[in-house]
């Protein structure tokens, strides 16, 4: 009932979220800023994509959430990587490595 045009990008977003949580637990805005930072500003994740992705990943069991206080003493929902999430990140990283290598190869051949 709801089709995403770019599954590759969706998978990529999931991977980036998992990656951003390796350093430690973070709330939604923090994740979004972190992704922006680690991709050198290439990916700007809008809340409209971020929140559905977070909830999807949480339902997969790769991250877990809890309510905590932010640096400015504001109630915020924090996410942290779970063990299956860590494994999933490894899988995704390897897969992405293969894909990017393959695509680079493909684009280099004339």
């Amino acid at each position: 009932m709801h089709s995403e045009p770019t599954t590759l990008l969706q998978g990529t977003l999931d991977m980036l979220i998992l990656k951003s949580l390796v350093a430690g637990e973070m709330h939604g805005l923090g994740i979004s800023r972190r992704i922006q930072q680690i991709t050198g500003g290439t990916f700007v994740v809008k809340p409209g994509s971020l929140f559905p992705a977070l909830h999807r990943i949480e339902e997969q069991g790769w991250i877990s959430s809890f309510w905590g206080d932010s640096e400015n003493n504001r109630r915020a929902k924090y996410y942290r990587l779970t063990k299956p999430g860590r494994r999933q990140l490894e899988v995704e990283t390897r897969r992405w490595g293969r894909i990017s290598w393959a695509i680079a190869q493909a684009l280099q051949t004339s």
Binding site: P52, R56, E59
Partner: protein
């Protein structure tokens, strides 16, 4: 991903959705606040920071909606929301809801009711173990017109030895027994071979079934049926081992069978005795007196058994040409054998209710289309706001599902409530009728039918109503002329044509049944059934060792009966017209004997006492009736019917001609025709008249029992106690059975066509009513659409009559197309009714004309109200009505 993580999320989302929602709301809001804070820290003014944060977030509700659609089980929540919305919509228009639900309830209810019958009668298996492996084995002869006759014991023994496909074979034989309780009783009983119960998998509730020791000559064991044990022996467990007097000899009760529903089979018997044949019976290959039931080896089909039986019967015919020539052996699955002809009428009824459902669905579909047209603005606005087509289709689908579910629920409740009534209108000869009940498979059928109804009635609206056309909805004002949805209009008219066609087929079917039944009622039976009573007297060997005392007894009973006040005539016969029994015999005339290539001819046969023809009201066309002088020792005489006289002697006046017959004497006897009687309808009133031979009862060489025929001046039923007393005053041990008036017996024969006609009539009336509503609906809709056009026409000078004609002609065009289609399909379908029709052809023009005219009249009536409304349109109001 482990499934339980997903399942946990699914249930959490479903069960704690409020908490999940609150959590989401808090998260999004906190995010918004943090964004704002970020902007403030970056140096924005508070108001501007808020605005920027909102823009970046992109709308709280949109974000929430996106999260919701990602959730596990999110679709379920949307469907639930759709259901709530549908319920709200339906509650808002109770009239629409009531009409649609009721229409579907009628359609589904009719199907559920008929399915409950089909389920009990055709689908549910017999109450025996592995019942599908059971076969009836019967014989047919080229000499006799019976479809199933018994086999002889030597043939059965050969069959048992040579068949490789039959796992087991048991023999049984009707063997009624007399049991003296308060009055002499004659009970249905069956003599069975040792393996009979074992083969069926039918066991006793106490005691045991027959073992080898019970099958020895001289053994007198008996097994009681549950009903006899309960009704006559007070369900007393001490009955085991007790001695009871059967046919005036002591028998020991060894068991009581479990209760079973009546199946029209040997297991309905009140008593079971061991079948212990004599040496003579074991050797008599010509004695086709034994019924056979067999069990197939696993994975063998009845068809394979049949080809094996063909081989065996061919071998028997060549080995024993004098007795087995012309005989063949046939295997029929037991269920089919017991069902008989129940399949065709049920298939026709199922077809009829299927049509009713289709008409109901067409009507509901039409109503949904009208409503969709009225709600087109809502749909287009929703589409404009971003609802995808699939979401809109789902919404419409859910609405029709809700209506169909409500209809199905009403239908099921209705079926539960009417199942009792249904039993009383169905043809009584359908076996297992009393078993009809609403069980789980009927419930599933209702669910399935409701889903089908939802699909059928929701398909067109789902596709057409959701075809969002923005300009149409937003730009357009409320009701502007017939341009409104030409696709809609075309489809709606098509639905009405289809409905009329289906109703037409139903009407044709019902009219055919009605005309056929009318012919049956008007049928000249050849005798006068009014004020005629029959009673059966049986003369078993243990009371009447030779025929003479029985003949004397019958003579005495007749004398006494004729002397009873109220009796105007009395006689006796071995069989009588419209009884379940027929006797047949073979005969040859002198002309046939002279022809070397002649073959014996068969005829119906009866032995009757004097005054039989006057008692029944059968005219004696020539010669005389039998007299008291036509007794043993005097020359054999016969009376024949007009058909036989004409066919074999060239004229109705065949008095004095001679022929020979071996009727109930075992060897051909030559005799003279002394009278010719009128033709009489035997058992099946739909058959042609057959040749018939009557012989004097008092000359009978063998006698097993007679029917007394008593004609009275008033209601014959009141004579029964007096007649019984008079019989018992002659012989107090004589059971009197099968007491019924001829009118009762004829009502039984008519019961099946009557119920068929009644049910088809009900379904046709339903179909007609629904079609009427359909035509009315479409015509009023058209009038509504064209109000402005009518106004303009009137303003320009069209008179009211013309407007009226315009709409009626339009309605008639639709109806006529439907009728034409209906007649074509009807011609193809009613052929299957042929076997059930009597005296009317399946393509009877009068029937078709009646159905067409009736539909036309109804359609005109349905058009008249909207058309008159159109004709009464006030041009000023119509033009202003925008």
């Amino acid at each position: 991903m482990p499934w339980f993580v997903k399942a946990r999320s699914f249930f959490r989302n479903l069960l704690f959705w409020q908490r999940v929602e609150a959590d989401l709301d808090a998260e999004v809001r906190s995010h918004l606040e943090m964004l704002t804070e970020e902007h403030v820290l970056a140096g924005m003014a508070a108001a501007e920071a808020q605005r920027a944060a909102r823009i970046e977030l992109g709308g709280i509700d949109q974000v929430k909606e996106q999260v919701r659609s990602e959730r596990t089980g999110g679709w379920l929540q949307s469907v639930i929301a759709d259901f709530r919305f549908a319920l709200r919509q339906l509650r808002k228009s109770p009239g629409f809801t009531a009409v649609t639900v009721l229409t579907l309830a009628l359609g589904i209810g009719a199907n559920t009711a008929i399915f409950s019958v089909v389920n009990s009668v055709l689908l549910r298996s017999l109450p025996f173990s592995h019942a599908s492996e059971l076969l009836d084995i019967s014989a047919r002869s080229t000499y006799f017109d019976f479809t199933s006759l018994g086999l002889s014991l030597p043939d059965i023994a050969d069959l048992r030895n040579s068949s490789k496909l039959l796992a087991a074979l048991a023999v049984y034989q009707d063997s009624p027994k007399e049991l003296a309780v308060d009055t002499p009783q004659r009970l249905e009983a069956t003599a069975v071979s040792k393996d009979f119960f074992e083969l069926l998998g039918f066991g006793p509730i106490c005691g045991r079934t027959f073992g080898s020791e019970d099958m020895q000559p001289g053994s007198r064991s008996v097994i009681l049926s549950y009903s006899l044990w309960r009704d006559t022996f007070g369900a007393d467990a001490a009955v085991l081992g007790r001695t009871i007097m059967l046919d005036a000899s002591p028998h020991t009760v060894i068991g009581v069978m479990a209760a079973e529903p009546a199946l029209g089979f040997a297991t309905d018997s009140k008593l079971f005795t061991p079948l212990i044949p004599t040496e003579a019976q074991l050797a008599d290959r010509g004695n086709h007196a034994y019924s056979v039931i067999a069990r197939l080896r696993p994975h063998i089909t009845a068809a394979r058994v049949q080809s094996e039986l063909d081989t065996i019967s061919a071998r028997l015919a060549s080995a024993y040409p004098d007795v087995d020539q012309g005989w063949s052996i046939h295997a029929t699955p037991l269920k089919q054998y017991l069902l008989g002809d129940a399949r065709t009428p049920l298939a026709i009824l199922l077809c009829a209710v299927g049509f009713v459902l289709l008409i109901a669905c067409a009507n509901v579909s039409n109503l949904f289309l009208v409503r969709g047209w009225a709600r087109r603005r809502e749909f287009t606005i929703r589409a404009a706001l971003g609802a995808s087509r699939s979401v809109l289709i789902r919404q419409v689908a859910v609405e029709s599902l809700v209506v169909a579910a409500a209809g199905g629920a009403c239908a099921f409740a209705f079926a539960v409530w009417t199942v009792q009534t249904l039993r009383s209108i169905l043809p009584p000869e359908i076996s297992r009728l009393q078993e009809i009940r609403i069980d789980i498979s009927v419930a599933w059928f209702t669910v399935g039918t409701s889903l089908l109804a939802a699909l059928l009635s929701g398909l067109a609206p789902a596709l057409l109503n959701t075809r969002g056309d923005l300009s149409l909805a937003v730009g357009e004002t409320s009701s502007s002329g017939p341009v409104g949805g030409s696709g809609h209009n075309f489809l709606r008219q098509l639905l009405v044509v289809g409905e009329v066609a289906l109703a037409c087929i139903l009407l044709i079917g019902a009219t055919l049944a009605l005309r056929s039944f009318g012919q049956l009622l008007r049928l000249d039976l050849g005798f006068q059934p009014e004020h005629l009573l029959t009673l059966r007297l049986d003369f078993p060997k243990f009371r009447f060792a030779s025929p003479e005392p029985a003949i004397i007894f019958v003579h005495q009973v007749l004398e006494s009966t004729r002397a009873t006040p109220g009796v105007t005539a009395a006689s006796a016969g071995l069989v009588f017209p419209m009884s379940d029994e027929v006797a047949e015999t073979t005969f040859e005339t002198e002309a046939m004997v002279a022809d070397p290539k002649h073959a014996q001819q068969s005829a119906l046969a009866n032995r009757v006492a004097p005054d039989f023809f006057r008692t029944l009201g059968i005219p004696v066309l020539a010669g005389r009736d039998f007299s008291e002088a036509d007794i043993k020792g005097n020359s054999p005489v016969f009376i024949v019917n007009a058909t036989l006289a004409k066919k074999y002697f060239g004229s109705t006046d065949a008095v004095g001609r001679r022929f020979s017959t071996d009727f109930s004497s075992g060897h051909p006897v030559w005799g003279q025709i002394v009278g010719v009687a009128g033709n009489v309808r035997e058992t099946n009133p739909q058959d042609d008249f057959k040749p018939q031979i009557y012989a004097p009862f008092y000359q009978t060489p063998r006698i097993f029992g007679v029917y007394l025929m008593v004609r009275s001046a008033a209601d014959p039923a009141v004579l029964v106690p007096a007649l019984r007393e008079r019989i018992w005053s002659i012989d107090k041990n004589q059971p009197v059975t099968a007491v019924a008036t001829l009118d009762q017996r004829i009502a039984e024969v008519h019961a099946s066509p009557r119920s068929q006609t009644l049910l088809l009539g009900i379904f046709a009336a339903l179909g007609l009513l629904l079609a009427l509503i359909g035509v009315y609906g479409v015509m009023s809709y058209l009038v509504g659409l064209q109000t402005r056009e009518i106004g303009i026409r009137m303003a320009l000078g069209a008179d009211r009559g013309r407007i009226l004609d315009l709409f009626i002609v339009h309605g008639l065009k639709l109806t006529l197309s439907g009728i034409l289609i209906g007649i074509v399909i009807g011609l193809a379908l009613t052929r299957f009714m042929g076997s059930l029709l009597f005296g009317v052809s399946a393509s009877d023009p009068l029937t078709y004309a009646t159905a067409a005219v009736l539909l036309l009249v109804v359609a005109v009536a349905a058009c008249l109200i909207p058309a008159r409304r159109a004709a009464r349109v006030d041009p000023i109001v119509a033009l202003r009505c925008e």
